[in-house]
């Protein structure tokens, strides 16, 4: 799989951003992009700008909150952190993702019967 298809991306991107914030703590958009890059290697080819649409979706759902702070190049940057509702959502999503992944995995491992 060279590239993740964009339809798959939206839901998974939100999930990945949530996971990143949960794992590392408050991050700004650039930091999140780096983290995603680091996790996925070069297999995730996405415009880094897309991160901001995910951030807005998550914020509108009340799963993350934002606060202004200073970035490493000493500019003002918005730092996002996961909220309690966000953690609950992450747990739900993780569970259902694992379930789906498990089912699909088992299906794909089926060998043709003779």
């Amino acid at each position: 799989m060279d590239q993740l298809r964009s339809e798959v991306l939206q839901g998974t991107l939100d999930l990945m951003v949530l996971k990143a914030l949960d794992a590392i703590g408050p991050l700004h958009g650039y930091g999140i992009a780096r983290r995603l890059e680091q996790i996925s290697g070069d297999r995730l080819q996405l415009n880094e700008g897309t991160v901001y649409t995910a951030l807005m979706r998550l914020k509108q759902s009340g799963w993350i909150s934002a606060e202004w702070g200073a970035s490493e190049n000493n500019r003002r940057a918005r730092f996002y952190s996961i909220t309690r509702a966000g953690r609950r959502q992450l747990a739900r999503e993780t569970a259902s993702w694992e379930q789906v992944a498990g089912v699909i995995g088992r299906v794909l491992q089926l060998k043709p019967q003779k």
Binding site: Y30, N47, G49, R75
Partner: protein
């Protein structure tokens, strides 16, 4: 807060505060780009290369901004604004069609708003008492007789047994009364007076506005409670009424004032203790009983218990209670029973009108949609999906509907006042009628529903348009081949069917109103002036005075110039509340207990029959000699004579009723009078016994004085009032003519007939406009074809008859459908019709004829236009 809601909320917030919505976004993106650039520089790129690479891996900044904005806003809201703006332009661009739509719609909505206001206030709004649903009317029900729909009286002993033996009521009380003379502050007036048992106010959960209600111990006391309005009218404010004295038959001290608006039953001014009636006969039904159910007791439960008590009483007192049981009815049902049929009927009628209005508007929209086929096709071709096009058309419909709704509400508000003015005065709570929240909600709902109804059809049609065909259409002309011409024909037929059904209903109601007016009543109401007076009398001496007052007054009135004859009668014809009782005939086999036949009792003075032109069939009228102390006499009507004596002679036989003194030898029948429908013109005469006033002065001592005049009856009012005042200054006097009283009796049929007829005419007018509109459009659409036909030799006559026959086919189809529908539905009218069958062929034929004639006229204008098409002009159009 659910996530979807929260998302919506934050979007909304962002949308409203749009200016500050992307605050800091530039800064955020800028920072991000800078960090990326630094990273690429650190990997060894030149600043220029690094900047480009940073932009590359970030993606389009403008695109992102756009995405974010969209995510923060409501695209459909923007589109809606577009749609509305566009719809406004469309509406203004075709002002005549738009106006037609708005007016049509306003008529439909207005009629519905007005009638629903009536229904709402009279039938749906809760009564102004605490837990009004628990207030129950308790009354006897006769298993072997027809029970009137009105309030039925109970006997005092039955009441005491019901109260003592039942466990489901918190309180039970009886009351009874009517209009009597009341002297307050020395001024004699008519007051609506009720006697009531102490629990009466508890039944209604009323608390006094001032003072107190009387107690169980005061059941014989000379105290009274007055209504709030009466207290204010006579004493300025409620508290000032306390301690004052008023005089009815005796002097009463006001101890309490009822709460604002409390005036049960009817418009009562004064309540006073009923006294104790221990020895009253069980067969004498004089009181109305009300009770308040205990909380948690279901009506069914209470009914079962009371039925049991009724059965026990029936066995215990077979003489008086045979075939008599007890029924419970919520007071609201009882109050609105008479009005509800009429109001639901009217609501059904205006619903029909609205439906026709919708059909008409749908038709107009279809015509317009067809004319706009090209425009819509262009929009589709440019990428507007079918949903978007439908939404556009629906927005237009809703907008037109909204404007129509506003106009309609205003019109409804105005007509409501007119309806109330001509409505029967005894519709309960008529003075409370107003447009409230529920009416507004109803109207809005109706508007939305009908806008969708008349908008969706045309909208879907537009969305299904064949693009290439429509694009080839020339600007300003309709789509050839008639978009929805079949739909339009069906709509016209539906309109015809609906308005035909309404017109038939109106015709039937009008005819039965005419029939009611033509009924041979058996007496004459013409030029009869009724003088209502009241001389309260409690003691025998007072009764004697009352008797003399009436004797003298009648004598004086008789001598007045212009008076042909004058007499007195206890119960005014056409007014409820006459007394009736069982009777026996000496010499006839004694009927089994409880099976005694019942007859109305009417007390009259000599000359009454002559005054109202009732024909004496046999024997004689009463004379001045038939007075107290002389042998008792009676006159019976033909119905009773037939029932009791068959073909035998009634004269000279002896009859006994509840009004016969026990000591006497019964009453000798001295005359037989023709049957008179003096209760209601649509009810056949009951068996009736007439008794001479001088032998039955009665406890109420109230007599209606009727004068048959040679001149206009109301010109006598002044002199009669003076004569009454001269005889007794404490007697209040009021006048009405018998014709007025009769008209009041027919108030419901008149109200129904007038309103339904009005609405039906409205419906027909709408339908005709619909026919005319559709035909005009079809003609203009067919102009080229007509041109060709004429060029090929068709005559003007042919074209004319072609158009007319096309239209008449539609009308005929509609009439047929309407006829079938009418026959199926019109049975609901049965109960309100008199003297005419719901399938009266004459009415149906007349209405159909009228329809065909007017439809012919409506279609002849476009047909004429078609026949005048100039082939040269028409052919050159293409």
């Amino acid at each position: 807060m659910p996530v979807t809601l929260r998302r919506l909320w934050s979007r909304l917030r962002a949308y409203v505060t749009r200016s500050s919505g992307d605050d800091g976004l530039d800064e955020e993106i800028g920072g991000h780009l800078q960090l990326l650039q630094q990273r690429f520089e650190a990997q060894g790129m030149t600043p220029d290369e690094a900047r480009r690479a940073a932009r590359g891996s970030f993606g389009g900044v403008e695109q992102l901004r756009e995405d974010l904005r969209e995510q923060q806003s409501f695209p459909w809201f923007d589109e809606l604004r577009q749609d509305v703006r566009y719809a406004c332009r469309t509406i203004v661009r075709a002002p005549i069609v738009s106006l037609a739509i708005i007016v049509t719609f306003a008529l439909g909505i207005g009629a519905n708003a007005a009638i629903f206001s009536l229904v709402n206030s009279v039938l749906l709004s809760p009564l102004p008492y605490p837990s009004p649903d628990r207030i129950i009317v308790i009354e006897p029900f006769w298993k072997n007789r027809t029970n009137s729909d009105g309030f039925r009286t109970s006997s005092a002993p039955d009441f005491y047994d019901w109260r003592a033996q039942s466990h489901v009521f918190d309180a039970m009380a009886y009351h009874g009364g009517g209009e009597f003379r009341v002297i307050a502050e020395g001024e004699p007036t008519f007051g609506s007076v009720q006697l009531a048992t102490p629990d009466f106010f508890r039944v209604f959960g009323a608390t006094p506005a001032a003072g107190r209600f009387w107690t169980e111990q005061e059941n014989r006391a000379s105290v009274a409670v007055v209504s709030h309005a009466w207290a204010v009218a006579h004493f300025g404010e409620p508290s000032k009424a306390i301690g004052r004295h008023i005089r009815t038959a005796r002097s009463l001290e006001i101890v309490g004032v009822a709460p604002v608006g409390f005036n049960y039953p009817g418009a009562t001014d004064i309540w006073f203790p009923a006294g104790v009636v221990p020895e009253a006969p069980r067969g004498g039904h004089n009181y109305l009983v009300v009770g308040r159910l205990k909380p948690g007791v279901r009506l069914e439960q209470a009914r079962a218990e009371m039925r049991g008590i009724g059965d026990r009483l029936e066995q215990q007192y077979p003489d008086s209670n045979r075939d008599k049981t007890v029924v419970l009815t919520p007071v609201r049902e009882k109050l609105t029973g008479g009005a509800s049929t009429t109001l639901w009927l009217l609501l059904g009628t205006v619903a029909g009108v609205l439906l026709i209005a919708c059909v008409n508007v749908a038709n107009l929209q279809l015509v317009r949609a067809a004319a706009r086929g090209r425009e819509m096709a262009v929009r589709s071709a440019m990428g507007a999906g079918p949903g978007r096009v439908i939404r556009q058309v629906l927005t237009e419909s809703l907008l037109l509907g909204g404007i129509g709704c506003l106009v309609g509400l205003a019109a409804g508000w105005l007509t409501l006042k007119a309806f109330v003015a001509i409505a029967p005065a005894d519709i309960p709570r008529l003075n409370e009628v107003h447009i409230d929240q529920r009416v507004l909600l109803f109207t809005l709902g109706l508007t939305a529903l009908s806008s969708l109804l008349f908008g969706l059809g045309p909208a879907r049609r537009v969305a299904r348009l064949d693009l290439s065909g429509a694009l080839k259409q020339q600007p300003g002309k309709g789509v050839r081949g008639g978009v929805g011409s079949r739909a339009r024909s069906l709509l016209v037929m539906a309109e015809v069917a609906l308005s035909f059904a309404l017109l038939v209903a109106a015709g039937l109601l009008l005819r039965s109103f005419v029939e009611l007016n033509r009924v041979d009543l058996g007496f004459s109401t013409e030029r009869v002036l009724a003088t209502t007076t009241s001389v309260p009398a409690a003691a025998p001496e007072q009764q004697r005075q009352a008797t003399m007052f009436y004797r003298d007054l009648i004598d004086r009135v008789r001598q007045m110039p212009g008076v042909r004859q004058a007499a007195g009668v206890r119960s005014m014809p056409f007014v409820d509340g006459r007394s009736s009782s069982g009777y026996t005939i000496d010499g006839n086999p004694t009927p089994p207990p409880g099976a005694r036949p019942i007859a109305d009792n009417q007390v009259v003075t000599p000359g009454f029959f002559d005054t109202v032109n009732m024909r004496i069939r046999r024997g004689r009228d009463f004379s001045a000699g038939d007075e107290y102390g002389r042998p008792q006499v009676a006159i019976v009507n033909e119905r009773l004579a037939r029932d009791a004596f068959g073909t035998g002679d009634a004269i000279g036989r002896t009859i006994r009723t509840g009004m016969t003194r026990e000591s006497s030898n019964g009453m000798q029948i001295v005359g037989v009078i023709a049957d008179a429908r003096d209760e209601s013109p649509d009810a056949a005469a009951n068996p009736a016994i007439y008794l001479p006033y001088l032998q039955h002065p009665g406890p109420g001592s109230r007599l209606e004085l009727l004068a048959h005049t040679a001149i206009a009856p109301d010109t006598l009012a002044v002199s009669i009032r003076e004569a009454a005042r001269a005889l007794n200054p404490e007697v209040p006097v009021r006048f009405s003519t018998m014709d007025e009283v009769f008209a009041k009796r027919l108030a419901y049929p008149r109200f129904r007939a007038v309103l339904v007829a009005g609405f039906a005419l409205l419906a027909v007018a709408l339908a005709l406009v619909g026919i005319y509109g559709v035909l005009s459009y079809l003609v203009s659409e067919r102009t080229p074809e007509i041109g060709v036909r004429m060029a090929l030799g068709a005559l003007r006559r042919d074209i004319f008859s072609d158009v007319i026959s096309g239209s008449m086919r539609l009308v005929a189809g509609g009439l047929l459908a309407g006829l079938l529908g009418t026959i199926a539905v019109v049975r609901v009218l049965q109960t309100v019709l008199y003297g005419v069958s719901p399938r009266d062929p004459l009415t149906i034929a007349a209405v159909a004829g009228l329809f065909v004639a007017t439809a012919f006229l409506a279609s002849s204008i476009p047909a004429l236009r078609a026949s005048r098409v100039d082939p040269l002009v028409a052919l050159r159009q293409d």
